[in-house]
Structure formats: C-alpha cells, structure tokens
C-alpha cells in the first residue's frame, strides 16, 4: 500500500508545486529586472538565490531531474553573485533571464503541457555552458598565498559560520561539521564568538548560539568547503570568502554578521585584523587616553594597523546598529522589519471560490425576496429580522468579493520585462513608471485585461515613442517615458497608459481612413471622431508592419476585449507631446449595488456609484428631440437629459410627472428621465446572452425579488449614446429591451 500512497501523494501535490514554482520563476524575473538598476544590492541577490534554491529543492522532491540539473547550474552562478565574487553585468542579466525562461519551459514540460524537443535541449545545453563559464571565470584566479614557507597549491579561505538556533534540534552537531572541514586542509586559527553565548540562566540548552570564524588553508574547491555545511545550509549563515578578499567583501561580511556591539570584536571576527593587532590598537588607545587624547578605536586601527577605512566604517555602522537594536529591542521587542513572507496566505482553488460567490448571489436574491414578503405582512418584528439578515448578507458579500481581489501590481510587473526587451529590440531607450500597483480588482478581470494591456503597451513602444534622434530633434529628452497607472474612481478601476511620444498624427489617421473607405474622402470629422477611427477594424498606420503590432488586428480587438469586460477605452492625444489611453473597468463582475427605476412597464437598474442625485416629481421638459434628448435646469446650470422612454421606444402610459436621475460618467454629468424611482437595490448581475451583446447602454441583467427582470445600465456607454450628435450613423444595432429576454 505504501508505495501507492506515495505516488498518489506526489501526483496530488504536483499541481501545488507547479503553481509555486511558477511564482518563484515570476519573482526571479522581477528581481532580475530590479537588479538591473541596483546590481550590487545584497538583499535582492540573496532573494534571487533563494528563489532558484527553492525551485531546485522542491523539484528534487518530485524527482524532476531535468529541472534539478538545470537549476543547479543557475543556483551555482547565483551563489557566486550573492557572495560578491561575480558582478552582475547587463550581459549576465540577459543570460539569467533566458535561463529563467528555460526553467519556465522545463516546468511546463513537467506539467505535461510541452514535450522536450531537440531544439530546446540544444538551447539548454548552450545555456549551461554559458552559466558555467560565467560562474567559473571570475572565481578561478588563485591569489598569491600569504604563507611563504610552503610551496603552496593551497588557497587561503576565510570561513564564517553562524549556526542557527535549531541546529541541535535538527540533529546536527557543529563539532563534527567543523572537524570535517578541518579535514579539508589546515585551520591555523579558529575563533568562537563567546559573548554570543547567553548566560546560564538565560540559556536554552537545546538552542544553538555558536558562531565561528576561521581561516582555512586548503586545496579544496569552494563547493567542497560549502558542501561540508550542506546539512545545516538552511539554518546556518555561511560565508566562504575567497583569498585576497576585497574590502567590499569584508564590508559585506560585517554587514551580514549577527549583532555584536564591540567594534574590535567585529573586525577580528571578520578576519580584517588579527587579535594581536586588535590588542595593539587597544593599547594604543589606552595610551592615548592617558595623555588625555580621546582617539576612536577605529581610527587607531586604521592608522596603526592599516585596516582599510571602508572596513572600519562598515564595522562602525554595524556597531551603531547593534547598539540601537539592543536598546530598541528592549523597548519594543522589535528589530528589523519582518520579511513579507510573514504574511499568512492560504491557497484556494479558484473554482471553489466562484462556487461560493454564486451561492452568495442566490442568497442575495432569496434575501431580497424574503424581505419583500416580510414587508407585505407588515409585521414589524419580521421586517426588522429580515433587515438584519440583509445587512449580514451584505457584509458577507463584501467580504467574499474581497477574496477575489488581487492587486494589479502583479500584472504591471510583468510589463517591466516586456518593455525592457521590446525597447531593446527597437533600439529605443524607455523608462517605465508603474503607479498604483496596489489598486485591487477582481481576479478574472485582471486575467482578461492583461492581453489588451500588453498590446497597448507594445503599441506605445512601437508607434508612440519616437527613436532617440527624433526626440532630441524635437527638444525632448532622449529617453522616452511610459507610465502605467491604476486607480479607483466611482466604483470603477481606471487604468492609464501614458507616453510622451509623438502623439496621434491626425492627418495620417484621416488619410488612412479615407484610403480604407472608413470615411468619405474629403470629409473631416471632428477630433474625437478621428481618434475613435483608430479602433475601427482593419485600421493601421504603420508604414512597415513590425513584428509586434501594425498588423491591423490590434485596436479593435483590444476594444472589444475591454468592452466584453463591461469596460470602456478612450484615447486622448496631443500631437508632438504624447498620448493617453484610459481604460475603465468595473471593479467586480458579480454583484452590484444598484438604483432601481421604472419606465413604463420595464424596470432598470443604475449602478449606485454612478448616481449623483435624484430629482423626484419633476415636470417633463418641453422640448425633446427625436432621440429623446433635451435639457433641464438644475441649480442654475444646464443639465443634458435623455428620456429612456424615447431612447428605447418603450411602451406603457406616460405619467404626467416623472423624475430625473442624475448620473456621472467620467467627467460628464447627464440626467435620465424616468417614470418611477424604486430605491436602492442590491442585485446579482447575470450576463446578457450573446444575442444581446450588441445592445448598447446595457451591461447586464438582474432578477428582482418578485421574479421580474431588470436590465442594468452601462452608464458610460449610455452617456456616449446620449451625447452623439443627431444624424451620426450608428455602427451598432439598437434593439429594444423587453422583459424576459435576459438569460
């Protein structure tokens, strides 16, 4: 039985591994891109190593040998990088990005989604060669050895090993490990950090507080030395420093050391000075003190012993930090910021969450039905009880919808790579700025907006931003700027893509439209209309079709994708200065707070966020044009209104007095003439069937408590419809809504 259950376990756990591995790979890419701006950042390099290490380790559990083998080489190089032995150059960064892609491919293969073929294998082998070259090159220089007596092929290493607190509990003994290391060569001197061992009354005898610093004269390779610590690797802070370590490496080592408030100890421990030198410095210090001079120890060491000032600086900073954290730690029990890993997460299957949300939707409807019936009984206690239930349902609803929200920053981050690679391909220098990454939206919206965004970004890079020479000729900085931003606004999320490129060239667009027969040649529509032409199918102004865009399938597909999400896209641009694309999306696709109104025999719902105010019992305006539009005076200002009855040719008796619902769409306000105001209504959105996709102004439908169907307005497109000047040809069909058509 046992082998079977193990196999089952592996099979069950594999998807979780795949998903985690994919996350690590994503993170790896992000880190590499961040490192391009800060190639020496130790924290980033460490995190980079850990990602590869995690993938390799987990892959090992699942027996994915190909992944392990390849990732091992990556890990070796990353280890060198974080030791500071290899510098992260742009070429290396590109190599690592490509290796990361290869790991991605390998994971896909593990998932069964791809087959390994010869081409991929050849690529992999080439990458391995490059990795080995990059790892081996810088580390291979044997430094001149300080010990002159022996004709030495041995190299001088400095090893710092801080065994973690759980070392004993994990069954490891530092003593045997260090004995093993001694077997690799000669240890002229070893120092144990005695002050780090707590006093007896504070000691947990089963926790390990041992840190050792020692030199090692050995012919062994780094892997062998590090290999001695492989069983405690995860728990032990190990530094193996190369011969003739540079000042920077010592400074890094000092930085990484556990807190130790004594400067001299720090330096001795780091091997920057010997104990004898420290004593010499201390004696010099007390001698100076006797003479009334107050010389800092660091300076003395620098002067008398020749420690590099940078190393002393690093040790001093460490000392200050240690002292500060000592006193702060007593007060707050705090220290440095906890890593973000401390946040607790639970993995949830997306479809299970969807099921819960569906049920919740049904609950909302059932609750509304019950509330309606309760109202009819006129029993106060029953009505109150139902009100309480409705409140609770609302809270659960809000909480559950929150579960599906993810920050858009994750999607935005992917664009760093795209922009980097694309800009390089096109030979353009582009700075990408990401704003509002923590703006949250529904997971399914995020997934479906990624492709349209990608296309728009590529477009901006390809067509929008000019090459450096043209920019400079126009008096702009050579580096182009691309800003991706996201924010919440009135129940929607607004995503902007802004570039400071050449802007939309109206004349070119118009010419193309004439050529393509989209506009009668010679007719010049107004500016807004010209910009909207870009979204027409089959449109493209690219002189030569580049690989990325310009194939003419772009913008109209982008728009329809966005509209399928009940969103809208708008383009604004100033020639010579740049363009801005604004995408509006609903926050969630599932449930909506609405305002219910009635016109004739039909009921409609406006998203509550869009309702600014309601004017009840207003006499109808005298003049309405053929499409039911007119104006109304509101507090001294003119408000354009549209009559729903006229717009949709609805039937039913028209009462003498109606009401006006004032709606906000973007930065425009307009009013809608309705018969009845029916109050707030929380509703589950059911999508309109495919037949009704062409219905403009509607974004969905809903079932009311009494079983009636109400259509939900898309405030934005309703506004556009209402704003269109008369006589403009409708490019989409208009159908009259009637009851019972919602699916």
């Amino acid at each position: 039985m046992k082998p079977n259950s193990e196999v089952d376990f592996v099979a069950e756990a594999l998807p979780a591994f795949i998903s985690e591995a994919e996350e690590q790979i994503e993170q790896l890419e992000q880190l590499l891109l961040q490192l391009e701006d800060a190639p020496e950042d130790a924290a980033l390099l460490n995190a980079l190593f850990r990602c590869a290490h995690t993938v390799k380790g987990s892959a090992g559990i699942f027996g994915l040998d190909a992944v392990v083998a390849f990732t091992h080489h990556v890990e070796t190089l990353l280890s060198r990088l974080r030791e500071g032995l290899v510098k992260l150059t742009p070429e290396l960064s590109t190599l690592l990005l490509r290796c990361n892609d290869q790991v991605r491919t390998l994971i896909e293969q593990a998932r069964g989604a791809q087959e390994d073929d010869e081409a991929t294998q050849a690529t992999r082998a080439a990458l391995v060669d490059q990795l080995q070259a990059a790892s081996g090159l810088q580390a291979a220089k044997p430094a001149p050895v300080a010990a002159p007596q022996v004709a030495d092929t041995r190299r001088r290493w400095h090893v710092s090993a801080a065994f973690g607190a759980d070392t004993f509990r994990n069954g490891m003994d530092p003593l045997t490990i260090l004995n093993y290391v001694r077997g690799l060569g000669e240890v002229p001197r070893m120092v144990c950090d005695l002050p780090a061992v707590p006093l007896l009354d504070r000691l947990d005898p089963e926790s390990c507080h041992l840190t050792f610093e020692f030199g090692l004269l050995s012919e062994a390779k780094r892997e062998q030395i590090e290999g001695a610590f492989s069983f405690v690797r995860d728990d032990c802070q190990l530094h193996v420093i190369q011969p003739a370590a540079t000042t920077a490496e010592f400074a890094d080592l000092i930085d990484a050391m556990p807190d130790n408030p004594r400067l001299g100890d720090i330096l001795v421990a780091a091997g920057a000075i010997t104990l004898a030198q420290l004593q010499q410095g201390l004696r010099a210090q007390s001698a100076a003190a006797e003479q009334g001079l107050n010389t800092p120890l660091g300076q003395l060491l620098s002067d008398t012993v020749g420690v590099a000032p940078a190393v002393v600086d690093a040790a001093l900073k460490k000392q200050q930090r240690s002292q500060r954290s000592l006193s702060a730690g007593v007060r707050e029990g705090g220290g440095t910021a906890a890593p973000a890993d401390d946040q607790r997460f639970i993995r949830v299957q997306a479809n299970r969450l969807d099921d819960v949300i569906n049920l919740l939707g049904e609950l909302v409807i059932a609750g509304a039905g019950a509330a309606l019936l309760a109202k009819q009984t006129k029993q106060r206690k029953l009505v109150e009880a139902n009100a309480q239930i409705s409140r609770l349902i609302e809270e659960i609803r809000n909480g559950t919808l929150q579960l599906r929200m993810v920050p858009i920053g994750e999607t935005f981050s992917r664009f760093r790579r795209v922009v980097r690679d694309t800009a390089a391909e096109l030979g353009k220098d582009v700075a990408l700025e990401l704003v509002g990454g923590d703006t949250e939206l529904d997971k399914s919206v995020v997934e479906r907006i990624a492709d349209p965004l990608m296309h728009l970004v590529r477009n901006a890079l390809d067509h929008g931003l000019e090459p450096a020479e043209q920019r400079q000729a126009a008096g702009k900085p050579a580096q182009g700027k691309l800003v991706l931003s996201a924010r919440h606004e009135a129940g929607s999320i607004v995503i902007c893509i802004r570039d400071d490129g050449r802007g939309i060239q109206r004349q070119k667009v118009l010419q193309r439209a004439w050529d393509r027969g989209l506009v009668e040649p010679g007719v010049v529509p107004d500016d807004d209309a010209i910009l909207r032409l870009i979204f027409e199918p089959g449109f493209s102004t690219a002189e030569k079709i580049t690989n990325l865009s310009g194939r003419g399938v772009g913008m109209d597909v982008v728009r329809s994708n966005i509209e399928a999400l009940r969103g809208s896209v708008m383009l604004s641009s100033v020639e010579g200065q740049g363009s801005t694309i604004e995408i509006r999306l609903p926050l969630t696709l599932a449930i909506i707070d609405g305002f219910l109104i009635g016109v004739g025999n039909s009921k409609f719902i406006f998203p509550l966020d869009a309702v600014v105010e309601v004017i009840a019992n207003r006499a109808r305006p005298e003049q309405l044009d053929s499409r039911g539009r007119g104006v109304v005076e509101l507090r001294g200002q003119v408000l354009p209104v549209v009559s729903l009855r006229a717009l949709y040719a609805l039937e039913g008796d028209e009462p003498a007095r109606g009401s006006v619902v004032v709606l906000q769409a973007g930065n425009r306000r307009y009013g809608v003439l309705v018969d009845q105001l029916l109050g707030q209504h929380q509703t589950v959105i059911k999508p309109l069937g495919r037949m009704f996709r062409s219905l403009r102004g509607m974004s969905g439908s809903s079932i009311l408590g009494n079983g009636e169907v109400a259509l939900i307005f898309d405030v934005h497109s309703l506004c556009q419809m209402a704003a269109e000047p008369s006589g403009q040809p409708q490019d989409r069909s208009r159908t009259t809504p009637s009851e019972g058509l919602a699916s």
């Binding site: 144990c192 002050p195 005898p205 507080h209 041992l210």
Partner: protein, 111 residues
C-alpha cells in the same frame, strides 16, 4: 561564611545534547551556591568527560561566562582528553587554557 571550599562541580561522562536538558537546572543550582560563597574561584572537575559535542561545550562556555559575570573565575581541573579535543575542534583552546591557568587570564577571548 563557611570555611570549607565550595562544592566542586563534577562534569558528567556525557556532556552532549542528550544530557544538557538535565544538567541545566543542576548547574544553575550550583552556580547560585557558588556565588554566595564569597570566593574568587569556582572549581569544576573535568576528569570524567568522555563524550563531548557542541551543545555540551556551549553550556560549559555559558557557565564560565555566568561565573565571570558574578566575579568568579572558572577553574577546570584535569580536563580529559575528549574535552580537550572538543575544545580544539571548536576553537576554544585559548578559552580552555584560560580556565586552567593559575594566573589571571587575559580574557581576550571574552573581552
């Protein structure tokens, strides 16, 4: 104040992770005793030590530091060969020497 010498702490045969849990309270009690005696030195008999590991030596170091904290000097009597070897392995030779010497130790390892 009593005239006789303070009780000597006898180190056990097994000074390892398996023993430290039990030894810890015993040593704490001995430490409390030793510090009330008003002496300058505390004697520890290290003859019997046969097995040693890092956990055991760590606690020994902790004991020495606690004694020093109370103004007492640790004196290790006749450290056995396994104990010496253990100290050597962990870079505690100087520490050990300081614990055995008669003269005031330089204490540089603990400074």
């Amino acid at each position: 104040m009593s005239e006789h010498a303070p009780a000597t702490l006898k180190l056990p045969q097994e000074l390892t992770i398996y023993a430290v849990g039990e030894l810890h309270p015993q040593w704490l009690a001995w430490l409390a005793e030793a510090s009330t005696q008003g002496r300058e030195e505390a004697e520890v008999d290290a003859r019997a030590v046969d097995q040693v590991d890092a956990a055991g030596l760590q606690m020994l170091v902790s004991l020495q530091r606690s004694l020093a904290d109370r103004g007492l000097r640790l004196r290790l009597q006749e450290p056995s060969e396994p104990l010496r070897q253990g100290c050597r392995a962990l870079g505690l030779c100087e520490w050990l020497a300081a614990g055995m010497a008669d003269a005031t130790p330089t204490e540089e390892a603990a400074a």
